[in-house]
């Protein structure tokens, strides 16, 4: 698909800002998206990711800053003049044109004479060759989605923008299309910039994920790095789940920073401690924690971080068991344990010891509290449950 002569170039955003009245949708964003990468902009709705994408597409004028591809500044170019194509959310296929003409649209506008072979090759790539003469309304959601990808890719854009392209598909189809899109990206080698609110989608597809919040990028990197080493409370909560315990810096030992919280000291590798103040929030992912019955407390390996608690909920999910453990100070911690041993699970009410390796611990800035990035629906549901429980206790 890609011309040998054509070199794909990096996409640069410099100090990109977009204000709608007083609302800052995108706040001084500087970012380089390497040529040929699959880049995901991940964030909750309203974080500025779609606005960023629309500015790159030329559908929204930036308030400030520049956008360039390689050395070419495209900030002031109109949408139709940019070497960029978009796969729109809900596809925006032309309802009055058949699939063939939808896919040929970009080529025809650029005055390409013989579009037939190219369009047919493109339709074959997305496995829709037999649908060429159908109208978009006669296709299923997944097929429409592939037409939208074909219609954009056929123009060999320097950058392909995908605006929540899988949002309208059901779960199973979405998984399938994630793999499909990744395959197409590898095959054509074009830079893909993918906007999504689905963290799993971003992690499975992208080489690089940028987590956005309030118009800024919170953290950028390889999905595994971001997951294993979140640098902010928002990222720790938005990408997967985290247990966060608020504490204070209490000296250091070797390569570790010691943090004291609720009478317990935790070791955090100094290169994983991102707090610049004396307040440090200790964090650990649920699957990194091991649960031991308190009678086995002496089995905790030396040097591991540990804390005591009481099991308040056990849910068996097949692959793993999910525990809720209440710490002595009332905070609930979440633990995922692989079901490698049959039987031998802790039960509700058991006194347990939680422990995990210091290398899995991270230290964050406490300033913004520990709820940033948690799905608001989840917070709401937890509050409702707590209300119900306390009402029950009173009655």
């Amino acid at each position: 698909m890609v011309d040998a002569a054509r070199t794909v170039q990096d996409l640069h955003l410099r100090n990109l800002t977009k204000k709608f009245g007083d609302f800052v949708a995108v706040d001084d964003l500087t970012l380089t998206i390497p040529a040929g990468s699959f880049f995901a902009l991940l964030g909750a709705s309203g974080c500025g990711k779609t606005t960023t994408l629309r500015m790159v597409a030329g559908l929204e004028d930036p308030t400030d800053g520049t956008i360039s591809i390689g050395d070419q500044d495209i900030t002031r170019l109109r949408a139709f003049q940019r070497p960029v194509n978009t796969v729109f959310q809900s596809y925006a296929l032309f309802p009055h044109l058949d699939i063939f003409e939808n896919v040929a649209f970009g080529l025809r506008r650029r005055g390409v004479k013989d579009v037939k072979p190219t369009v047919e090759r493109m339709l074959d790539l997305v496995e829709l060759g037999s649908m060429a003469r159908r109208k978009p309304s006669q296709l299923s959601g997944g097929q429409q989605q592939r037409v939208a990808v074909a219609r954009a890719l056929i123009n060999q854009p320097d950058v392909l923008l995908l605006d929540e392209p899988l949002g309208a598909l059901d779960l199973k189809l979405r998984r399938q299309m994630q793999i499909e899109l990744k395959r197409i990206q590898v095959e054509v080698g074009t830079t893909f910039v993918h906007v999504t609110h689905d963290q799993e989608e971003a992690m499975t597809m992208a080489d690089t994920v940028a987590v956005m919040n309030n118009g800024r990028i919170e953290q950028l990197g390889h999905p595994a790095d971001i997951y294993e080493t979140p640098r902010t409370v928002f990222v720790a909560n938005f990408l997967g789940q985290s247990n966060l315990i608020v504490g204070r810096r209490a000296g250091s030992s070797g390569d570790s920073t010691l943090v004291e919280a609720h009478g317990q000291t935790y070791a955090v590798p100094s290169d994983r401690c991102f707090s610049s103040t004396s307040d440090v929030t200790v964090g650990v992912r649920p699957e990194k924690i091991t649960v031991l019955d308190s009678v086995d407390a002496d089995k905790v390996p030396d040097g591991n971080n540990r804390l005591n608690g009481r099991v308040t909920d056990v849910s068996y999910t097949g692959v793993s068991t999910q525990y809720l453990v209440e710490a002595p100070w009332g905070q609930e911690l979440i633990v995922f344990e692989q079901n490698v041993v049959v039987g031998d699970r802790c039960e509700v009410g058991d006194q347990v010891v939680l422990h995990w390796a210091p290398s899995h611990t991270f230290g964050l800035d406490s300033a913004g509290g520990t709820n940033s990035g948690v799905d608001p629906d989840v917070v709401e549901a937890e509050k409702a449950t707590a209300r119900l429980l306390s009402d029950g206790a009173e009655a």
Partner: protein, 296 residues
């Protein structure tokens, strides 16, 4: 010996029968209305158009099969047919040219003003058709600001607008404009603005995006609007009577005069019939060419 098994069709029949009876019942008021107020007058009109005069009694007609009524009516009035279709055609094109940008603006740019603008489009209809046309008499009068301004610029061939074809076309355009705006608005409003963005994203300049996306998607509105304007405009007689001179009469005027003044009912009926047939023929060719049969 023969086991009687009720077939599924037999079991389903009563349900199907009942639902089709409901359908006919629902159709009844409409059909009755059309029968009494359209079919019967239609037949009466056709029979009137073939009547012959009662010998020795002017103004009285009796049953006949005078197909020659059509020939005499047409030989006398064909220029008025031509003029009617030309005036109505020009008025329709003008209305389209005025209505399209307005409807486009209301549909895509008006924001919170959308409802208000739509009300303003319809508001003139609260005053009677006749009154509005009289108002145009004043607007276009020889001493009016429009005529004097255009005259001082030497832009008027006859030094006046009132009592010319221009005034009749202006009146027709004005009076039927809402019938153009509303269907256009309805069609444009349904277009997803993201389609226009998508066209831009796919290298279509704004002009190209309009030609390749917006215009074809608004065609149902264009067809509906032009029909709703052209058909009544072609048969109209008030605009020509109030705003035109005797040289600008349209076919509606001929029908009116023959019915009311000359009491020549056969000729008036024959003209009505020809007008109906001509409009139907035009509309069918038009819709066939526009390729939107589902609109009829």
């Amino acid at each position: 010996m023969v086991a009687v098994v009720p077939t599924p069709r037999a079991a389903a029949a009563p349900v199907a029968q009942r639902s089709s009876r409901t359908g006919y019942l629902l159709l009844f008021p409409g059909i009755a209305w059309l029968g009494i107020f359209f079919a019967i007058p239609f037949v009466t009109l056709f029979m009137t158009s073939l009547q012959q005069p009662v010998p020795g009694k002017s103004g009285s007609y009796m049953f006949g099969l005078q197909f020659s009524n059509y020939v005499t009516a047409m030989s006398e009035y064909w220029p008025l047919f031509v003029r009617s279709f030309i005036y109505a055609g020009i008025a329709t094109l003008l209305a389209l040219a005025i209505a399209y940008p307005l409807a486009y603006f209301i549909a895509f740019r008006a924001g919170n003003w959308r409802s208000l603008m739509l009300v303003l489009v319809i508001a003139p209809s609260f005053a009677s058709f006749l009154l509005r046309t009289y108002a145009w008499k004043t607007i276009l009068s020889d001493e009016g600001i429009i005529t004097t301004t255009l005259n001082s610029l030497h832009l008027l061939p006859d030094d006046r607008i009132l009592n010319t074809g221009i005034a009749v076309i202006a009146g027709l355009t004005y009076n039927f404009l809402p019938f153009m705006i509303l269907p256009l608005y309805a069609a444009l409003e349904k277009i997803d603005p993201r389609l226009i963005e998508a066209a831009g994203d796919l290298y279509a300049s704004p002009q190209k995006a309009f030609r390749k996306v917006t215009w074809p998607l608004s065609l149902p509105g264009v067809v509906a609007g032009t029909l709703l304007t052209f058909i009544p405009a072609a048969g109209d007689y008030i605009n020509a009577a109030l705003l035109g001179s005797t040289g600008d009469r349209m076919i509606g005027n001929a029908i009116q005069i023959n019915f009311i003044q000359f009491r020549d009912y056969p000729t008036a009926s024959a003209l009505s019939f020809v007008l109906m047939a001509a409009i139907l023929a035009l509309v069918f060719t038009y819709i066939r060419r526009a390729g939107t049969e589902d609109l009829v």
